[in-house]
């Protein structure tokens, strides 16, 4: 009996030990980590453009159609990373963009060219992503807001999921919605000012419209200013523009030196799809405001192929085909060849070629007729080709650039030109702190 009891106790202890070993294996000592600052990314750029045939002046090729632009853009992104109790990586990213621009064409919202010709755009973003390396999945949510140059207020939401397979491939799906409100600021000649009904017949009245929509009527008699009336700041009406996008992509590691991806967007836009201060001049010389359909379907599909040639050269290629239901079709070819001078310093020359056909509603200055239902003279929708070329340098030494926390320094210059006589130069600086 004693032997049996001892045997039973012994068996019990062995079983308890076996389970205790299992418990010890499960408690791997892993600890969740709170969100901590992981990376700060600063991008600052300067853009300078010379052009004519501005959309504000209906594609006028003369001096009033000037479309020179400067833009000083700044973006700051801050990333926090942490791990939860289930070993999932959580990333919280906060972004803030501030752009200041001058646009010569903006001055001609007023027909005398006296409107404000500069503005500021502020656009914060917030996103959260959860990655599960054990399952190869990730899920993310994001929000976006933009207030642009007194002309736009926009609110955006997005959600994304991705899944890796066992052969180094990854599928991802991202759904995005933008809900915009366009301030309906018309060119000055389309604003009625009724306060000068009693003005003498021989007086001339000039209307001044600011970019915020306030209209002032100036009365001249024989060239002398004799009276004025500033309208109340009217409640500027708005019209909605909504954009919904489903982005599908698949990436694949093909070999130790090559990987590729394909990305396709299904885009649907509805609402007011033009801009209220874009004029169109008919073949009679009379002007009106551009009118475009209230729906647009877009289908871009892009392909990327990157190859690591030898020990120092990377070949990055990109091709995109685009088509929409406004009749615009385009092709984009991009080639970039980073050359690693050292493992931490590279120079990247690049070239981009782009060609597009005209949207069916486009016609140049004083070509449209009054019988047309939809019409625009915005040269962004014209037929043209463009080229962009330039180069960048990148430094990423392991001990940082000038200081330990500055891990990446990138400087990039690009020259862009269109066959519409638009030429632009841009220079960008990217600093990554860790």
């Amino acid at each position: 009996m004693k032997k049996l009891s001892l045997s039973v106790i012994g068996m019990y202890l062995m079983m308890a030990h076996a389970f205790s070993q299992s418990s010890a294996i499960d408690s791997s000592g892993y600890r969740a980590k709170n969100l901590k600052l992981d990376e700060v990314n600063l991008v600052t750029s300067y853009y300078n453009q010379t052009a004519n045939k501005s959309a504000v002046m209906g594609g006028d090729p003369g001096p009033k159609g000037i479309a020179d632009v400067t833009d000083f853009a700044n973006g700051l992104d801050v990333k926090f990373v942490g791990w939860d109790s289930k070993q999932r990586k959580n990333t919280l990213a906060l972004g803030l963009g501030i752009d200041y621009h001058t646009a010569a064409s903006q001055a001609y919202v007023d027909s005398n060219g006296t409107s404000k010709n500069n503005g500021t755009r502020i656009y914060p973003t917030l996103s959260w992503t959860r990655e599960n390396d054990l399952k190869g999945t990730s899920f993310g949510l994001g929000a976006y807001y933009s207030a642009e140059h007194n002309y736009y207020h926009s609110f955006g939401l997005n959600a994304s999921v991705s899944k890796k397979n066992q052969t180094n491939g990854e599928f991802s799906l991202k759904m995005v919605g933008f809900f915009d409100k366009i301030n309906m600021i018309y060119p000055s000649e389309f604003y009625p000012v009724d306060s000068l009904k009693n003005a003498p017949v021989q007086d001339s009245i000039v209307y001044i419209t600011s970019a915020s929509g306030r209209t002032q009527a100036l009365v001249y008699n024989n060239g002398q200013l004799v009276g004025s009336n500033k309208s109340k700041k009217q409640e500027t009406p708005t019209k909605p523009r909504n954009t919904f996008t489903a982005s599908l992509s698949f990436s694949q590691i093909i070999s130790q030196r090559m990987q590729a991806s394909v990305e396709m967007d299904l885009v649907y836009q509805s609402g007011y799809l033009g801009l209220p201060f874009h004029r169109v001049f008919y073949n009679t010389g009379k002007d009106t405001i551009e009118t475009l359909p209230s729906q647009r379907f877009k289908l871009p599909i892009g392909f990327r192929l990157n190859y690591f040639l030898g020990d120092n050269i990377i070949i990055r290629t990109y091709y995109r085909f685009y088509a929409d239901n406004w009749g615009l079709v385009s092709n984009t070819f991009n080639l970039e060849v980073p050359v690693k001078i050292t493992p931490f310093f590279s120079i990247s020359p690049f070239y981009r070629f782009y060609m597009q056909t005209a949207a069916r509603y486009f016609a140049p200055y004083q070509v449209h007729t009054e019988q047309e239902q939809y019409f625009t003279s915005n040269y962004a929708l014209a037929a043209f080709t463009s080229q962009m070329f330039g180069a960048g340098i990148r430094l990423a030494p392991p001990r940082g650039v000038l200081m330990n926390s500055l891990r990446i320094f990138e400087l990039r210059y690009a020259h862009y030109s269109q066959t519409t006589d638009l030429n632009a130069n841009m220079i960008s600086l990217n600093l990554v702190f860790k």
């Binding site: 990314n41 991008v43 750029s45 853009y47 992104d77 933009s146 642009e148 736009y152 926009s154 052969t167 491939g169 933008f178 915009d180 523009r241 954009t243 996008t245 590691i253 093909i254 070999s255 130790q256 990987q259 590729a260 991806s261 394909v262 990305e263 396709m264 967007d265 885009v267 289908l299 871009p300 599909i301 892009g302 392909f303 990157n306 690591f308 990377i314 995109r320 685009y322 088509a323 929409d324 615009l328 079709v329 385009s330 990247s348 782009y354 597009q356 962004a380 929708l381 990148r394 990138e410 400087l411 990039r412 690009a414 862009y416 269109q418 638009l422 632009a424 841009m426 960008s428 990217n430």
Partner: protein, 74 residues
């Protein structure tokens, strides 16, 4: 546009299927693939160029950037 769309769908599916039949590359063999300049996306420093293209050209999308909306772009 319908014929071109169908051709695109076919091309996209073909590309995805052909990519899916590639060799498996082990983690220790990914030193070149994991290089930051091999990334399959536009980099932060290209942000202004992409923004300028979306304002000055009639097409956008399929590059991780804007597809329209959220700005005074096309």
């Amino acid at each position: 546009m319908q014929k071109q769309s169908l051709k695109l769908w076919g091309l996209g599916i073909l590309a995805a299927l052909s990519l899916a039949s590639c060799k498996t590359v082990k983690e220790y063999q990914k030193s070149r693939i994991n290089d930051s300049e091999m990334t399959l996306s536009n980099r932060s420093v290209e942000k202004t160029e992409m923004s300028a293209q979306s304002y000055r050209e009639g097409s956008s999308g399929a590059n991780g950037g804007k597809t329209g909306g959220g700005c005074g772009c096309n």
